[in-house]
Amino acid sequence: MSCARPDLHERLVELVDAGASAELRAHVAECADCAAAIANLRGAWDALGAYDVAPPSAAVLARVKAAVAAEPARVEAAVAAEPVKTGRAWLVASALAAPLAGAAVLVLRGVRDDWRSARFVLAAAPVLGVAWLLGLWAAWRAAGARRAGAASTAFALTALIGLGLAFGAPAGDTFGSAACLLLSLAAAAPPLALALAAVAPTRGAGRAAMRGAMVGAATSLVGLAAVRLHCRVDALAHLLAYHAPIVPIAALAGAALAALASARIAPRSHVR
């Protein structure tokens, strides 16, 4: 270990209590600069020891316990009925389900004959895939932490690029069918359901609905990409009528499902 390591001075803070590694301790024992730095940090640590706080009064403690004891039984019932909390495992499952669902569309319905020439489509598919993952990431950030704005922006920009590429594909056969919409729905539904299981529980139906809409829009992109690879029609009217609606449909479905899930759970202030 050497002082040239960019994170060394941040790691020195480990030494103000007992959590440092033997390697770090050994380095500080030999390095005068780091020893001085650690002494500086310990000075602040020791100074904080002067800041004692008087315990709460007995009246306050009694008041808090009385408030807990007075909690209505319905809250306990709500807690008992609360579904098992899900998390990243569901999100991973969703991420795996999405390409599987898209692949199922292509295997069952076939890839368009001229797909090799549809360069825009081929370019759009991976971009939309990335956008879908970014959307889930944004939803996850919104569910578990703050600062979801950057993730949401990245999702929105990537999705727009992917959609632009998809709709910019060269013209081919003309054949229209609502089957495209149904296929899109079929491909988007499994990952949507799994992603909602991961991110739906939250405080407040409004927040849950926004997050559900985000997940819905994100998961719809995989269906959009798969069906675009399958469909032989490049007419703009067909794309707008039978391909694009999956995005608002899935967003609305995600919002409604997430709001319903949110309404079923008790407040959880420790989860954002």
């Binding site: 994170d7 001075h9 941040e10 790691r11 020195l12 803070v13 480990e14 103000v16 209590d17 959590g19 500086n40 940090l41 000075g43 602040a44 640590w45 020791d46 100074a47 904080l48 002067a50 800041y51 004692d52 706080v53 008087a54 315990p55 709460p56 009064s57 009246a59 306050v60 403690l61 009694a62 008041r63 808090v64 316990k65 009385a66 408030a67 807990v68 909690e71 809250v75 807690v79 008992a80 609360e82 909390k85 578990g144 932490a145 703050r146 008790a266 407040p267 959880r268 202030s269 420790h270 989860v271 954002r272």
Partner: protein, 204 residues
Amino acid sequence: MDQETDEVLMRRYCAGDERAFEALFARHAGRVHAFLVRHVRDRALADDLLQSAWLHVHRARGTFRDGERFTAWLYTIANNLRRDEGRRRARDQAALSRDGKLPEPSAAASAAAGGIGGGGGGGAAGAAGGGGSGAAGGGELAERVAAALEALPEQYREVIVLHRWHDLGFAEIARMLGTTEGAVKLRAHRGYLALREALGKEAP
């Protein structure tokens, strides 16, 4: 029951054992209160937030998972509550500055004034603490430390309070705050340096 870990007590509490709750409360209520006082520097408000925190513990006990550390879970709740309160107060301040009128008093503010909250205990505690830093002793140095801590950016202060007084490791703090361990160490490092600078030669 004194020998049992927090996590064992929590499991018993979830199963309906009220004595387990009593034991957890006895162990941690004072420390959570101190955590809140060090952040909000208002004992009456800390009293009110303490009540909210334990109510949330009670309501959300079904979400406590095996393998989770109770103290990290408890301080996550307390930290979120005091953040929510801080944001709400900031909004009230903004509303005041826009229309020039006093905002509606909040539940917490009313409790701080000795109003709601059940028995006026908050007001009594606030009086006992002097309504300032809430420091129990140490005189001028304690006040200076409290002021220096308050002057820190919030993201530094919350890491330092959890690390210095509440036996939480950097990894646990990172999980609580939804960030990386490296980021937490960086905040702690900068926070301790800023404190050292603010306290100058008075620091040991």
